[in-house]
Symmetry: C2
Subunit: 338 residues, 2 copies
């Protein structure tokens, strides 16, 4: 009910001026130990709380960081947010979340609104649709740190935290080769996207290392992540020379493939090995647990947050930092010949 107490209230209480109170509260060196003590006492006694909004207006720093991503309720994204929050909260920053729903329009609106709201930084995974860089340049123009994660744009002055998709794919494929598989197929989604290009690249590199010739017939782009894995596996198995392993760029692709392979009586992992990508929670719950490349999303979030903090700390100096995280291969039954 009552108004919150301000520095004026406590100034009045002690017959000093608000400025002095402010100094005492902010550990200003030019203040007597005694006044400081009195102020702090009075502050707790009157249950004083700093008004962060006033402070924000004065300083131009809101202590808010905007996080922008396509959808919150995907395991990968929510885990990234978790990492960001855990890193930023102890430093006194609040995390504001907005979803783009993969729409460029929404993304532009959101970014501009966040700027209006004076956020101290923006951490973003760009929407699939986004082509324009205009809104990002606005962020830069206001000198607000801009950090991309997972899906990035190459813009000078910005930073990024991404996954080494190439290496993840390389390891997954190499692992399949080490299991003795020699005809490894690859399921992908959309080769116009950088991450899938990189996963294809890593796959090829592993093949090359084992002196295996790349076979374009073994690469299939799925129409949807959800249902198409089964069909793709079917198509692969109907080839004159069917593969003996699949490295899928998504977990759902791997799941669909496994479903088909089981239906046609394939023994996994004895006759056929499968590895997915993302390490979605369900992969470990399956009757046949699925090997998968883990993206370390929580770490990615923490890293993005740290990059932001570095930018903030280095007043004026424009820092540009691009961190590439190393994925981890989680080996489970679906590819473990023993």
């Amino acid at each position: 009910m009552k108004k919150k107490t301000t520095i004026y209230d406590i100034a009045k209480e002690l017959n000093i001026t608000a400025a002095t109170v402010s100094r005492a509260l902010n550990d200003n060196p030019r203040i007597s130990a005694e006044t400081k003590k009195l102020v702090l006492e009075a502050a707790t006694r009157l249950n004083y709380k700093q008004n962060r909004v006033a402070q924000a207006l004065k300083s131009g720093k809101s202590k808010n960081v905007g996080v922008v991503l396509p959808y919150i309720n995907r395991n990968f994204f929510s885990s990234v947010i978790r990492g960001i929050e855990e890193e930023l909260n102890p430093k006194g920053y609040y995390v504001i979340i907005s979803q783009t729903h993969e729409k460029e329009n929404k993304e532009i609106d959101i970014v501009q609104n966040l700027l209006d709201a004076q956020v101290d930084g923006i951490i973003i995974s760009v929407s699939r649709q986004t082509n324009s860089n205009k809104h990002f340049n606005q962020v830069l123009a206001k000198n607000v740190p801009l950090i991309f994660f997972d899906r990035k744009k190459e813009i000078p002055g910005t930073s990024s935290v991404t996954l080494d998709d190439f290496n993840g794919a390389y390891r997954a494929t190499k692992h399949l080769l080490e299991q003795g598989c020699r005809k490894v197929a690859h399921m992908t989604i959309d080769l116009s996207l950088l991450i899938y290009q990189n996963r294809l690249g890593g796959y090829k590199k592993a093949l090359a290392e084992y002196g295996i010739e790349f076979n374009p017939e073994y690469v299939i782009a799925l129409q949807s992540e959800i249902t198409a894995g089964k069909d793709a596996a079917k198509k692969l198995m109907e080839l004159p020379e069917p593969p003996d392993a699949i490295f899928s760029a998504t977990d759902l692709g791997a799941l669909g493939a496994i479903q088909h392979l089981k239906e046609v009586g394939m023994n996994i992992p004895e006759d056929f090995c499968v590895v997915g990508f993302s390490n979605e929670p369900f992969t470990q719950f399956m009757e046949l647990p699925i090997s998968s490349v883990d993206q370390n999303p929580v770490l990615m979030g923490k890293t993005a947050a740290k990059v932001f903090l570095e930018q903030i700390d280095s007043e004026g100096v424009k820092i540009e930092k691009n961190v590439v995280l190393d994925p981890t291969l989680e080996i489970r039954t679906s590819s473990q010949k023993k």
Copy 2:
């Protein structure tokens, strides 16, 4: 680089006063159509953006809503956030996220910090540990709307959005009985928590309706959600009269049970039916898709957000609203005898 343009800049531009500009921008009735037009023009021309912080300081409304929950990266919680964000964003509110990690201390800190940051409302799912109501009373004392979701506290002056656990459990159990099962067991977690009490209650009600006597031996409390389902199922199957169905209060419990049942050669759903609770994503991906009670988390979030908006709109009038959402039973193979 440059400072952002303020109402003063545009006032100067037009040789009028900032007050007039402010009025024009805020659709104040007492303003000539022409000045208004000029102001709006100049505003877009100079790329003027309202400074929300200044506005917040002036009005006492930050347009921020705090969302407090145990962990962000759980499907249920992240889906609730999604609902909240989608409802609030179009109304110009920002969603600030904080995690309690199920710790009372953290929860108290977070709530107080949010109050300092002048949030216009708090939407919270309380931590398991929380006993004190002190921080909640502080929220009320400041006249900030407080809305609980999922896990609530009974505090006058607060609102809540929860799930009808009783009814969900009732439907799940009834469904099992309709499949012809007559010895339905129940796995639970912690009967000191209201939600699990209610799930037990719904289970009992369905039994009673079918004239089946409640058998305490058929109710097992799991030690952990993750691993204990298997053991519990084993224990149940070793009873002199083993059950022919399980209604589990968690999906992981159901999963563990199914794993054990398969191992001992049980045919599901022919010989044995299983239903879980929460409709976690993995339930539909299993080789044997698991029936489960869906909690409608996105709707829960949207509803909580709407309740908040109602509170805000009704100046002064203290509204107290308790919404109970109806869960949906997702019937899948694990319980579909057909």
